[in-house]
């Protein structure tokens, strides 16, 4: 999803590796703070399993592309870097697409075109450009794991809320009693927007409270 340019804070070289990891998971969470990759976030989180697979697929692509981009960072001239990154990302997306088909055709069908659309997830290109192209392989792995896990957990949270309210189940297992009236809007795109909006509200409130406390 093409979004307006977003300033991605670059982590300075001196910061600890654990910070790099936690940064993606919490302070700079791709979904709740950077608001990146909204297309899959809204589209495939109608069930927990879809959200989980999408998150893991994105994380694997991010990890592999970060590794390759950072190991080739002196080899790729700046003038052609974006085209090269896209080539690298597209390769790993194709690979992940095959892997998901091999693991489960059912999940592959449910996710549909959104697997191929990982190519245009700004999160991955954003991390390649802002982090992996300027940092060591080791740090890029930390960054990919942190950001990827942050993305996966955010998607999973949305998926859990939407599946629970929309179908009364979790990972396909019925949770609510049978006479629970399914809240179908939660499965439709509208429900995605509502849930994301509310979660962003909570996240911003938490961060604001943190800043006020630290002052």
């Amino acid at each position: 999803m093409a979004a307006k340019p977003i300033k991605i804070p670059v982590v300075s070289e001196t910061e600890q590796e654990t910070n790099t990891f936690l940064n993606g998971l919490w302070q700079q969470n791709p979904v709740f703070v950077q608001v990146l990759g909204m297309c899959p976030t809204l589209a495939v989180t109608n069930s927990a399993i879809n959200a989980l697979v999408m998150g893991l697929a994105t994380m694997s692509v991010l990890l592999m592309s970060n590794i390759l981009v950072s190991s080739l960072r002196y080899f790729i001239p700046r003038q052609v870097r974006i085209a090269t990154y896209i080539l690298i990302i597209a390769t790993f997306v194709t690979a992940i697409d095959y892997v998901i088909q091999a693991v489960s055709l059912e999940i592959h069908n449910a996710l549909g075109a959104f697997i191929s659309l990982i190519v245009v997830n700004c999160l991955i290109l954003g991390r390649a450009e802002a982090f992996a192209s300027r940092n060591t392989v080791n740090k890029s792995i930390q960054d990919a794991l942190g950001m990827g896990l942050g993305f996966t957990l955010a998607l999973l949270l949305l998926g859990i809320i939407r599946e629970l309210l929309g179908q009364g189940s979790l990972f396909g297992i019925a949770i609510f009693p049978e006479n629970y009236e399914n809240w179908i809007i939660m499965l439709l795109p509208g429900g995605g927007f509502f849930t994301l909006g509310l979660l962003l509200l909570v996240f911003n409130w938490l961060q604001q409270r943190d800043t006020e406390n630290s002052q």
């Binding site: 003038q79 052609v80 080539l87 690979a95 095959y98 059912e106 499965l187």
Partner: protein, 224 residues
């Protein structure tokens, strides 16, 4: 541009080419390796999904055989590139029990792919399974699992007319609970377009295949 600029341009170009060719080579190798590893597993998965679907639409099946329709209008068992394929199914005594026929058509949001079972002795559709659909979750998606709707396809009359060239009665969609005839389908309220789409897909596919199957019936018997 001066002479030194030219030479630095050249070195930049060669670095750009080197980067592209190098990265493309790495990417090519990655894709080939992953494809080689996953291709047999994916083919296996697809086969298993098809077999499960066939078993669901024709429960007494023990084995199946693919028949392709060639351009001359006759059935052959050699694999053809066309998607004009049906599966003849046999029971344990190698008796022909029916046909599993894949069909597809436009639904509310995207193509719906389904598989239905045809029983030639009953001249009826005896089962239907949605293979792939992207209908609205909770509404149109009920074509897959709404028990009342799925029941329509356990005995749906598709007998041919006397000249054996088209269905005697077109499949008709009626309002929920208003089904009175064997060739009618009760639609789902709240999923009218999706349920109508399923009816149309089967109607079109049955009018295409059933006259051909009846005409070539002997060719499908086991071993022939």
């Amino acid at each position: 541009m001066n002479a030194s600029g030219d030479s630095s341009d050249k070195s930049l170009y060669s670095r750009m080419y080197r980067a592209f060719v190098g990265v493309a080579a790495i990417c090519g190798i990655v894709i080939i390796v992953v494809y080689q590893i996953t291709a047999p597993i994916i083919a296996d998965n697809q086969n298993r999904a098809l077999e499960t679907a066939i078993y669901k639409v024709l429960p007494e099946v023990a084995s199946k055989k693919e028949f392709y329709l060639n351009t001359a209008g006759s059935f052959v068992t050699e694999k053809l590139q066309s998607n004009h394929v049906i599966y003849a199914t046999y029971d344990l005594n190698q008796q022909l029990v029916g046909f599993a026929i894949p069909a597809q058509g436009m639904g509310y949001q995207d193509n719906i792919q389904l598989l239905y079972g045809y029983d030639p002795t009953k001249q009826a559709v005896v089962g239907m399974q949605i293979i792939q659909s992207r209908e609205t979750p909770g509404l149109g998606s009920r074509i897959e699992d709404d028990p009342k709707f799925v029941e329509n396809f356990l005995r749906l009359d598709v007998r041919l007319n006397e000249t054996m060239n088209s269905l005697a009665n077109a499949i008709v969609l009626v309002k929920p609970g208003k089904k009175t005839k064997a060739w009618e389908i009760d639609s789902i309220s709240g999923a009218t377009i999706s349920s109508k789409a399923v009816g149309n897909i089967i109607q079109q596919s049955a009018s295409f295949w059933l006259p051909k199957i009846t005409q070539h019936y002997k060719e499908f018997e086991f071993g022939s």
